[in-house]
Each structure stands twice: as structure tokens, then as C-alpha cells.
């Protein structure tokens, strides 16, 4: 009922971390409230869908939409919020490129249901009941939203104006975006990635980098890395080299390899492919020089043996927005 521009936040297939990231702008949330009418956010407010439906089109100034499109309901809300919002922002890795929920794209819906509702050790489902969109119960007919076979990103379903990467987006970057809008300055071109840099995490990482020649890859629990040296050079798979900057290289700063949550840098189509490319370039070749063609294969296979799940590692956040998008039909 105020004259302030409306701002809303919705969650689809996500974990709720994006809402927490927004609240983590701390006292700035008061400034946000002073300038905007924060009117819809199922995680924090009690506004109902019906009230959104009744709004005139484009009456919400900005919608932060987090989460991927997993169910019929997610899709319905994406269309509704697109219609009612002036600026629709894919907020966070899930809405932007699928994130963790999209790893399910390496399985079929049937396999997922089997794991989750039948095979899970902690489940008690003696009748083997699986979710179906419509079911008859004593009280009448029950309807639940259809669960899609493939998780899609927000921009694969509706037209998206901007993308804010991150799992979750860094609060200081969220605030930068809000500040930009408040300043009245002209907004960046549509479809651009905002609240982040254009280069790679290495740009922001102050670890010492020299020529990379890796003989063996380690999993995180196997070694305690040296404090100053580039993690990739120490054989830890740090995704920073194939990941957009903007987070401030938070993970490498505390000895944890980057897992790639800011998505691919500007101009890169496929984060996983770029990581394959990068690792191929840094595996030390002095060991395979002079070997026979068969021995070369053996040697490389033993070097990459410690990467048991490359798809899960390289596409942890970007599978739904990658070139292949999902496992091919079997």
C-alpha cells in the first residue's frame, strides 16, 4: 500500500540459502526496507499467491527468483512472476544454471524416485508408494505438482533480465546490485550477469602461482595444502581457473579449493569442458614423453584415477546450463 517500488523474492527448487544471503546484508536490510516495499517472499513473509495474481502486470519492480524449475508449480510461479515483474533476476546459482538440484539431470526421474522413495536406507515405504500428480484419498482427490524429468534453469522457461551468480550470492554483491538500482544509474544491458566480475577466481586469489605441472591429483581430505601456494599446483582440483570472479576467492583463502559456484567466466559456454581443458593443460607431460601410445593411455588414466566423478565435480553448479544439459536418453 506504500508508494515505494515493490520488491519480491521467490524460491523454486532451492535450499533457502539465497534468502539467508539476502538477510545477510545485515543492517542494510533497513535501507532496503526504506526504499522498497518488500512484499512477497514465502520464506519470510505471509503474502499469498492469490495476492500476486491480483496485482496489475509489471507492478513488482524487481523479483529475485532463486531455485531451478523442477516441478509444474515452479514453472507456474516463474510465468506468474515474469508477468508481474518489471525486472526478473535469476538470483543465485540454481536459477542461473541449475546448481546442486541439477546434478539429478544425470539420472532419470524413475531412478530418482527409486532412490529417494524406495531404496533410501532411512525410508519406510512397505507399499512402495511413489508420488503421482493425482491421487484419491478418503477426503477427496489430492493434487500435487508434476515432477519433471529434467531440471531447467529459469531462463530456459521464461525471459530473464539479469543473472546474479553464486551459491549463495555474496551479500556485498547483492547490496551492490541494490545500490546500483537505487542510484538511478542506467542498468547494464539485458541478459548480463551482474553482481560479479568477468574474469576468473584466480584473479582475486592471492595465492602464489607459478608454472603448473601436476603429477597427481588429490581429494580434499588426502592432503593438508601449503598456505601460500596455488591449490591447483598442489594437486587439489580447484575450480577457480574455470569460475567467474566476484566472491573474493573466499574458499581458497581458507585452504579450500573453489568448487565453482559463480559459474563460468564471461564468454565461456561450458564450465565443465573448460575445466577438462585446463586440467589437460596442467598434468605434467614429462612422464608420458617417449612412452608408447598404449602406455600413454595407462599413465594418464592412473593420473586421473583420483577424479572418480568428473561430471559431479566440474558441473557441481552448472549442469542444467551446460552444453549437454543432462544425460542423453538411454
Amino acid at each position: 500500500m506504500t508508494g515505494k517500488p515493490k520488491i519480491s523474492m521467490y524460491w523454486a527448487a532451492s535450499c533457502g540459502g539465497c534468502e539467508i544471503a539476502l538477510v545477510n546484508i545485515n543492517e542494510k536490510i533497513i535501507d532496503l526496507d526504506a526504499n522498497f516495499d518488500f512484499m512477497f517472499c514465502p520464506c519470510l513473509l505471509d503474502t499469498k499467491k492469490q495476492e500476486i495474481k491480483e496485482l496489475p502486470d509489471e507492478s513488482i519492480f524487481i523479483t529475485f527468483f532463486n531455485g531451478g524449475i523442477r516441478t509444474e508449480e515452479n514453472e507456474e510461479m516463474a510465468h506468474l512472476l515474469r508477468k508481474k515483474s518489471k525486472i526478473l533476476i535469476a538470483f543465485g546459482s540454481c536459477a542461473y544454471e541449475g546448481c546442486i538440484p541439477a546434478l539429478a539431470n544425470l539420472s532419470s526421474r524413475e531412478e530418482l524416485f527409486k532412490t529417494v522413495y524406495l531404496d533410501n536406507p532411512s525410508i519406510d515405504n512397505p507399499h512402495g508408494i511413489l508420488p503421482v500428480p493425482e491421487s484419491d484419498v478418503a477426503e477427496g482427490e489430492l493434487e500435487i505438482p508434476l515432477f519433471y524429468d529434467t531440471l531447467r534453469t529459469l531462463s530456459q522457461v521464461v525471459d530473464v533480465d539479469y543473472f546474479i551468480p553464486g551459491c549463495p550470492p555474496e551479500p556485498k554483491q547483492i547490496w551492490k546490485v541494490v545500490e546500483l538500482v537505487l542510484s538511478g544509474a542506467s542498468l547494464p544491458p539485458k541478459k548480463s550477469v551482474i553482481g560479479a566480475g568477468k574474469s576468473s577466481v584466480c584473479e582475486e586469489c592471492d595465492r602464489k602461482k607459478s608454472e603448473k605441472m601436476v603429477e597427481k591429483f588429490f581429494r580434499n581430505y588426502e592432503i593438508i595444502p601449503e598456505k601460500e601456494k596455488c591449490l591447483l599446483e598442489q594437486g587439489l582440483i580447484c575450480m577457480g581457473i574455470a569460475t567467474r570472479d566476484g566472491c573474493g576467492a573466499l574458499c581458497p583463502k581458507v585452504n579450500m579449493p573453489c568448487t565453482g559456484c559463480y559459474g563460468p567466466p564471461e564468454g565461456v559456454l561450458d564450465q565443465g569442458a573448460k575445466m577438462v581443458s585446463a586440467l589437460g593443460s596442467i598434468i605434467d607431460i614429462s612422464d608420458i614423453k617417449g612412452l608408447s601410445e598404449e602406455k600413454i593411455i595407462e599413465k594418464i588414466n592412473s593420473t586421473i584415477e583420483s577424479i572418480p566423478d568428473p561430471a559431479g565435480l566440474f558441473y557441481k553448479y552448472s549442469l542444467a546450463d551446460s552444453l549437454l544439459k543432462r544425460r542423453v536418453a538411454q
Binding site: 573448460k274 577438462v276 608420458i288 617417449g290 612412452l291 593411455i297 594418464i300 568428473p310 561430471a311 538411454q330
Partner: protein, 161 residues
């Protein structure tokens, strides 16, 4: 749906392969895979040329893209090819030690081994993505590598998407 896709694909690849716009019926024709071949300029492309000069027959299913070095082949190119309709992809490089740029083919084979692991998780069979070495003098070898790959991909059928 699946069936019509299959037939459409057959018509397409047929038209491409034989450059014949008049072919109406596809009932008699078997599946002709579309394969993209990335060939290094210095060895494999020259090898293909050698096969051509010697007029060695080989199946027309492979569309060749010449690159300066197998080390230039970004895995994005390979995924892009699969995504855009290729049933198979080939990467042909100089033999180990023969790279014009000293180590491009070592980089290529390292990327390829890792990519193969990744493709498996995406349900794409190893036979659809082949890496091999063909030197400038190996026209016969070029022909046999093409023959083997086309045969293997034909056996697998079209890549379902």
C-alpha cells in the same frame, strides 16, 4: 516421436552424404551417422589428403574440420558437436613426439582421456568419441580409422537427445 526423429535424421544425413536432393524414400537406406572429425593441420589432415590423392575410398560420414593442432581442440567443441546433432566425434593427432608444436598432442590426449570419463556419465558411449594418431604419410591408416569409427557409430545408432 522418437521414430520420426530417427527417420528425419536418416533423410538428412543421407542428403548430406550423397548430396542428393531427389531421394524420397528412406526405407531402403540404413542409418548414416553424422560424424565430426577434428584433424590436425600438420599430420592427420595431410594424411587425409594423402588418402584422397591416392583415391582410396572411405565412407562420406565424417565432416572434417581442420585445426592447427589437436591441442587447440577445446572440449567445448566436442560437446557442442554432440549437442548440435553429431552422432560421433573424432580427434586425429600427430603421433607422440611428432607434434609440430612439440606437445600439443600430449595435451590433446590428456584432455581426451578425462573427457571420455565425463561423457560416460552423460550416457555417451566411448565409441562415439574417438581419439587416434594419423601421420602425414598414413593415408591407409586414415581410411581404416574412418572405417572403424563409422562402423562403430552405425552399430550404436543415432545419439538420442
Amino acid at each position: 516421436m522418437q521414430n520420426s526423429f530417427f527417420i528425419k535424421k536418416k533423410e538428412n544425413s543421407n542428403a548430406d552424404a550423397f548430396n542428393s536432393g531427389t531421394k524420397k524414400s528412406c526405407e531402403t537406406v540404413s542409418f548414416e551417422p553424422k560424424i565430426i572429425g577434428f584433424l590436425c593441420n600438420w599430420c592427420s589432415y595431410a594424411g587425409a589428403d594423402k588418402a584422397g590423392t591416392a583415391q582410396k575410398p572411405y565412407p562420406p560420414n565424417v565432416s572434417v574440420i581442420r585445426v592447427m593442432c589437436s591441442g587447440r581442440i577445446d572440449p567445448q567443441f566436442i560437446l557442442d558437436a554432440f549437442q548440435k546433432g553429431a552422432d560421433g566425434v573424432m580427434v586425429l593427432a600427430c603421433h607422440p613426439g611428432d607434434c609440430h608444436y612439440k606437445e600439443g598432442n600430449y595435451r590433446a590426449v590428456q584432455r581426451y582421456r578425462l573427457l571420455l570419463k565425463l561423457l560416460k556419465q552423460f550416457g555417451i558411449e566411448a565409441e562415439r568419441c574417438r581419439f587416434d594418431y594419423v601421420s602425414a604419410g598414413e593415408g591407409d591408416r586414415f581410411v581404416s580409422v574412418i572405417n572403424e569409427t563409422v562402423k562403430a557409430v552405425k552399430k550404436l545408432g543415432p545419439l538420442k537427445r
